[in-house]
Symmetry: C2
Subunit: 226 residues, 2 copies
DNA sequence: GACAACATACCAACTGGTCGGTATGTTTCC
DNA sequence: GGAAACATACCGACCAGTTGGTATGTTGTC
């Protein structure tokens, strides 16, 4: 799933990459503190010696995983189908709809690694907290140019900054993940994503989404990213 | 700070209540798994024997803390100043503004215990997950009557349910807490709360909030709120 | 191109310490 | 005096991290 190798790298991933992959998977399920080094080694098919050869501490693996997570997200969303839209507002709304559509399947598969880890680290592991901030902000800020361009193109004023709206989308999604975890289901998360989309459309003076029909912007339904 | 005793109870709190108070405090700072039973006992001024006399397991203390947290929240917000408003919409908006204003001071003092714990428990401790859901939902649902009444009074239609809007407010706040934890500051959290308030005002056809007083848009830095 | 010198990747076994939880007292209160 | 409320001492399991090593490159030198 998460591919940290530089694209067409042929040789199989080494212990370091496998450990990062294991961290992304297991930490999202159980949290950072509840995941032991032994379990990460087992999941990665690696010994403990290899672990501490590549990472000075468990925290350092968390930091590397947060970094990989950011690259993964920006790769995924930077090449998603909605990016073909010419109007930056269509791209921004396409992003939000795509994120909503991702809220299907098992909960551990759509939640955010950085959002999970930061809750456990913000007071106790400053380096990991900072890596999580960098991961979240580094993804959020990729939205800002489209938001800015959309405001300019559609002549939207409003007493809000594009940065704050980009971060707000991430906050709503993070909150949606918490609702999903609390219920072990995704309905509440989808509902809150719908509210977010409704909000953004109102900010840009668009009518509400049509429940299902092919709307003015076209649903990315069936959009299957490779 | 958090007072789990029933108001005018004269005698000092026993070990059970002190442990719940300690859990509310320490778990919000460090998370559930990173908080040891010994540390909870130390914080509560209680021995380990007393701990396991009152709670069969550490998880059971977490469950009791989530329950106490819900009661605490509903007590706090059920008697807040904005509740005197006659218009249910004023009460709902007053709640949101109150929550935004609470986003001052140290991060561990305004975050949500249930939101913190559910991330660490949803896949591994089903009973605690359920207690967290009950805590979050139990608070969110107290907003529904006012939202319903506000819709009726102001003739608001919209393709959304009052339940989903109540949950959306909680999701945004939970997401705001994550941004605050990631930055170890509350500016981003306040900004996202502003977006939430703007959204609700738009849903109810109200003009945007006035920024504050003097100044063009006036950054809330150095917040003058008492 | 052969060989020493060094670097990287990985491994199995182990360590000191901490964990949640228990067994067995002692005190307090009615 | 009996039960509930606490305290003390302790346990086995597990934890992150260390140790001392091997196998496999890579690089420099003649």
């Amino acid at each position: 799933m998460i591919d940290t190798t530089p694209a067409a790298s042929a040789k199989p991933p080494g212990a370091r990459d496998r450990l990062i992959g294991a961290a992304v998977k297991v930490v999202r399920e159980k949290g950072f503190n509840a995941t032991s080094v032994d379990e990460l080694c087992r999941e990665a098919g690696v010994t403990k010696g290899a672990f501490f050869h590549h990472f000075p501490s468990k925290t350092d693996l968390g930091i590397a995983a947060a970094e990989a997570w950011k690259l993964h997200a920006n790769e995924l969303f930077g090449h998603a189908p909605y990016m073909v839209h010419e109007d930056p507002l269509d791209r921004f709304l396409g992003y939000l709809e795509f994120r909503r559509d991702l809220l299907d399947g098992p909960v551990p598969e759509f939640t955010c690694l950085a959002g999970t880890m930061v809750q456990e680290s913000y007071e106790t592991l400053p380096a990991l907290r900072e890596a999580c901030q960098d991961s979240i902000w580094g993804h959020a800020l990729t939205l800002v140019p489209d938001i800015e361009a959309a405001r300019a193109r559609h002549g939207i004023e409003g007493a809000w900054t594009s940065d704050s709206l980009a971060l707000h989308t991430q906050a709503v999604l993070q909150g949606a993940f918490i609702l999903a975890k609390a219920t072990n289901g995704s309905q509440a998360a989808r509902d809150t994503a719908d509210h977010l989309i409704r909000y953004v459309r109102m900010l840009f003076n668009l009518p509400p989404e049509k429940p299902d029909l092919s709307g003015p912007i076209g649903q990315p339904e069936g959009g299957n990213h490779g």
